[in-house]
């Protein structure tokens, strides 16, 4: 169900990227507010220098996280991701199966909630 949302958000991210050059590494949210009128979640986007996109979907009912928090989340994500990439056994594009990565992500999500 979220996949759809994420995919649509990807479009928005692309749009943003192509727009402003400096928005490459912009941690701005993808769409702050409602993506759908009915759905009350916020989707944040983040693009790395290597065009890897991170999308975070947050439930709005959750006391809206501050922008800084989202940014820090993206930062952590980015760091963990680089760690995963460092692994020569990891082929970019594969689903990430790193436990460390997963643990960091879960910790992050728990903190957010």
């Amino acid at each position: 169900m979220f996949h759809y949302t994420v995919h649509t958000s990807l479009d928005v991210v692309e749009e943003k990227i192509s727009g402003v050059g400096k928005a490459l590494a912009d941690q701005r949210e993808l769409y702050l507010g409602l993506l759908y009128p009915t759905e009350d979640y916020k989707v944040y986007g983040y693009v790395t220098n290597s065009k890897v996109k991170f999308v975070i979907v947050v439930d709005s009912s959750n006391t809206s996280l501050r922008d800084n928090e989202i940014r820090s989340m993206f930062r952590k994500l980015h760091n963990s991701f680089t760690d995963v990439m460092c692994n020569p056994f990891y082929n970019p594009g594969d689903p990430i199966q790193s436990k460390a990565f997963d643990s960091i992500v879960s910790t992050m999500m728990v903190q957010a909630c």
Partner: protein, 788 residues
């Protein structure tokens, strides 16, 4: 036969013995054979044995029925305790210890029969309830693992074991028990050892007791006993551990309690499953060399990938191994990391599960490459062999949890050996005693913290100069990212003793200020944000306001300078933004300013005086610098304060406040002000011999503000003074607007910082409180605007 009441323990024990004797399962045993052996094992004289036999009625029956047997046993116990053999005493003696039999190590029963040399009070013969309790207590004394399933036998044994410092190896324990039977008996002839009546049961007991042990699997428990024969241990075991269980339990406890080292030695390899033996390490090192001849170098990820792919492990596992072993997350393997990875691969191939986190023994903190390293490690590792063992609880089930079973460890050790053998393809285990060459966990792990980059050394220098003790280099660094001009601005701001450079600009300024006026810094941040140009550049903002500013003195001085400048500047009405003071303030500072400058002069000793002199001129130029007026207001305060306190600090604060006010003034105004300030600074810088960086910043802005320069001669003076105090600022005159804006922003930050200082001054001087308060209020009011 006389009725015989046996305690539970006794019951068990006896039945066990009976079973052991009853090889034919005939429910009765012949007087000869085992029974006799058993009786003899009790180390009683033959007459006594004979007497016992008679008493129990076996003579009559010609064989030992169960009851007779039991009676006999009881009598033996009696005899061993030195009590006269009397049938009546069978049931009367309450505290009769179990009969002890010294046996060879052949029979387990013998083992069981070990008298429990423990001299502990609790004897089995006690009433069941008590006995149990006693046993438990005994056990407890001995070790925690007491009574579990099999209370009696277990209890006894555990009791025993603890005492005896289990021989180095748990096995030894067992063995010990077996042999101990003899030994024990010897030892304790007087001590009613805890015999193991329920020897038989004990056996199953031990098996169950293994449950206690948890780790021990019964077979190994028992069998291993035999195999282990570590005779010495037996001697060490004063108490003989009759049952394997107790041994095991004891062993377990013992290891923890006792000489883990000893055990370790015996167990050597397996107490720490992840320890790398010397050979292994050597092997790994050789392998490392094949890839990377330089032992201190790194193996790139791709090469390592190929290498480990040869091990035919699934990629996922290799990936996991990599994650564990690449300690510094640099995508390359140092020798230590490589050894760890290799070791993990070997372990995995041998069936060990991969740990969740890197075992300590594999952590690259051990740099030693020599084999000896491996040895000492075991010892310490023993301590936490448990930990690695625990760490590897996920070891394949085949491997019993190591921390529980020493004997198992032994086995595991063997398995390790097999590992090495199986290691095949160059996987022979070289010893790894924890990876060598710690791949600098610190370096690697820590992700580069962008923090401050000090783009310009000059800035740093300035900061240093500026700050006497501030260690805000940090703040500066991020700030430094900005072009030098910015740093100049920040410097300027710093001189103004910004509370804490907020973002980029702010930071640099904060550096100079080294004052920890967070609020201001936040304000500055706000300012920055709206300054726009540098915000992005200055990610550093994030950190809290820059470290404490340079001494208040700095700020003071700067403020003083600023005061001077401001005083010069504020001439005109305060900026539109500033509501109150403006008109009133200006006049005041002037006189004070002039006076203050003197103080400054001493401090700065530059053309400040010149500035001060110009201050009056600058006053009329206030209009251009709305903020300046504020500054002047501050300056007014400051001078007064200065008089009382160190002028420098006062000035700095004042200046800060002034600047702060300036900043707080409308954005545009501020921009203007800034420009003005920059201009001033520029001006100031020129007159000043060592143009402080902030001044330079100003200079940059000068380009734009040229027209305004004249307006703010005073300001520039102030700024110059401030700047002078600040460390050299990279001068970038004529930088583009962005830089100027950035510097402006920084100035704003410094302004806020200075505002704080002002408040401080107030307290100190307690002069001009009212003015100051009002000024501060204005500042605060204005600040939000500026930050818009």
């Amino acid at each position: 036969m006389e009725s015989l009441t046996l305690s539970d323990v006794e019951q068990k024990y006896y039945s066990e013995l009976f079973l052991s004797c009853d090889v034919d399962n005939a429910k009765k045993v012949a007087s000869n054979g085992k029974v006799l052996d058993l009786f003899r094992a009790a180390q009683l004289s033959n007459e006594v044995v004979h007497q016992i036999t008679e008493l129990c009625g076996a003579t009559r029956l010609g064989h030992f029925g169960r009851s007779q047997f039991y009676i006999a046993l009881k009598l033996i116990a009696l005899a061993q305790s030195g009590l006269p053999l009397r049938v009546e005493s069978l049931n009367t003696v309450r505290d009769l210890p179990l009969p002890r039999f010294v046996m060879g190590k052949n029979e387990q029963e013998m083992r069981h029969m070990f008298a429990d040399p423990e001299n502990q009070g609790p004897y089995l013969p006690r009433p069941p309830g008590r006995v149990q309790a006693k046993k438990v207590s005994a056990h407890e004394t001995i070790q925690p693992c007491v009574p579990t399933v099999d209370p009696q036998p277990d209890t006894t044994s555990p009791v025993v074991s603890p005492h005896q410092s289990p021989p180095t190896s748990p096995h030894a324990w067992r063995k010990h028990k077996r042999q101990a039977s003899g030994g024990n008996v010897d030892r304790q002839p007087s001590v009613p050892g805890v015999v193991w009546p329920p020897f038989r049961e004990a056996q199953p007991g031990p098996v169950t007791g293994d449950g206690m042990w948890s780790a021990h699997s019964p077979p190994p428990v028992q069998e291993s006993w035999v195999s282990f024969t570590d005779t010495p241990p037996s001697s060490t075991l004063p108490m003989h551990l009759p049952s394997a269980q107790p041994e095991s339990t004891t062993v377990r406890t013992v290891p923890s309690a006792m000489t883990t080292n000893e055990i370790q030695r015996q167990i050597s390899g397996y107490d720490d499953p992840w320890k790398i033996t010397d050979e292994q390490r050597q092997y790994y090192i050789n392998q490392f060399k094949t890839i990377q001849t330089d032992l201190t170098g790194l193996i790139p990820g791709s090469a390592a990938k190929e290498f480990f792919t040869k091990s035919k492990l699934p990629i996922l596992e290799l990936s996991h191994i990599w994650e564990l072993s690449d300690f510094d997350k640099d995508g390359a393997l140092t020798l230590d990391e490589f050894c760890a990875a290799f070791h993990l691969v070997v372990a995995r191939k041998n069936g060990y599960d991969l740990p969740e986190k890197l075992p300590e023994s594999l952590m690259p903190k051990l740099i030693d490459l020599d084999d000896s390293a491996g040895v000492p490690e075991p010892a310490p590792e023993v301590g936490f062999s448990a930990s690695p063992v625990e760490v590897t609880p996920n070891k394949s089930p085949s491997m019993p949890s190591l921390n529980q079973n020493w004997p198992e460890l032994n086995q595991s050790n063997e398995q390790w050996e097999t590992f090495s053998e199986r290691s095949s393809s160059s996987q022979t285990l070289t010893q790894f005693d924890s990876n060598i060459a710690p791949a600098d966990p610190d370096t690697a792990i820590v992700h580069p913290v962008p923090i401050r980059m000090t783009p310009s050394k000059i800035h740093m220098q300035e900061m240093e100069l500026k700050r006497t003790g501030s260690d805000h280099t940090h703040p500066t660094s991020p700030l430094m990212a900005k072009p030098p001009e910015l740093s100049d601005e920040t410097k300027l701001a710093a001189t103004i003793t910004f509370p804490g450079t907020t973002v980029g600009d702010g930071y640099s300024s904060s550096d100079s200020f080294t004052s920890d006026q967070e609020p201001i810094s936040s304000a500055v941040n706000r300012q920055r944000s709206h300054s726009g140009t540098s915000p992005e550049g200055l990610k550093v903002v994030a950190p809290p306001p820059p470290p404490p500013r340079p001494n208040a003195s700095h700020s003071r001085s700067s403020s003083l300078d600023m005061n001077r400048n401001f005083a010069a500047v504020p001439a005109g009405p305060q900026q539109p933004g500033v509501v109150a003071f403006p008109p009133a303030v200006p006049p005041r500072p002037l006189p004070t300013q002039t006076s203050v400058p003197h103080g400054h002069r001493s401090v700065e000793g530059d053309g400040l005086s010149a500035h001060t002199s110009t201050s009056p001129h600058q006053m009329p130029e206030q209009p251009n610098f709305a903020d300046f007026s504020q500054f002047q207001a501050f300056a007014v305060d400051q001078p007064a304060d200065d008089g009382e306190k160190p002028s420098d600090s006062g000035q700095a604060e004042r200046c800060a406040e002034s600047t702060g006010t300036m900043r707080t003034a409308k954005n545009d105004v501020q921009a203007e002000e800034r420009n003005a300030t920059t201009v001033n600074s520029a001006k100031v810088s020129t007159p000043l011999a060592p143009p402080p960086k902030p001044v330079r910043r100003r200079l940059k802005s000068d380009d734009e503000l040229r027209p305004d320069v004249e307006d703010l001669p005073q300001k520039s003076n102030i700024i110059a003074t401030v700047l002078a105090t600040q460390p050299s600022i990279p001068r970038s005159i004529g930088k583009d607007k962005k830089a100027i804006q950035a510097s402006i922003r920084r100035n704003k930050e410094t302004n806020t910082v200075l505002a704080r200082l002002n408040s401080e001054l107030q307290q100190q001087l307690k002069d001009l409180l009212e003015e100051r308060i009002s000024l501060e209020v204005q500042l605060e009011q204005l600040r939000p605007f500026s930050h818009l």
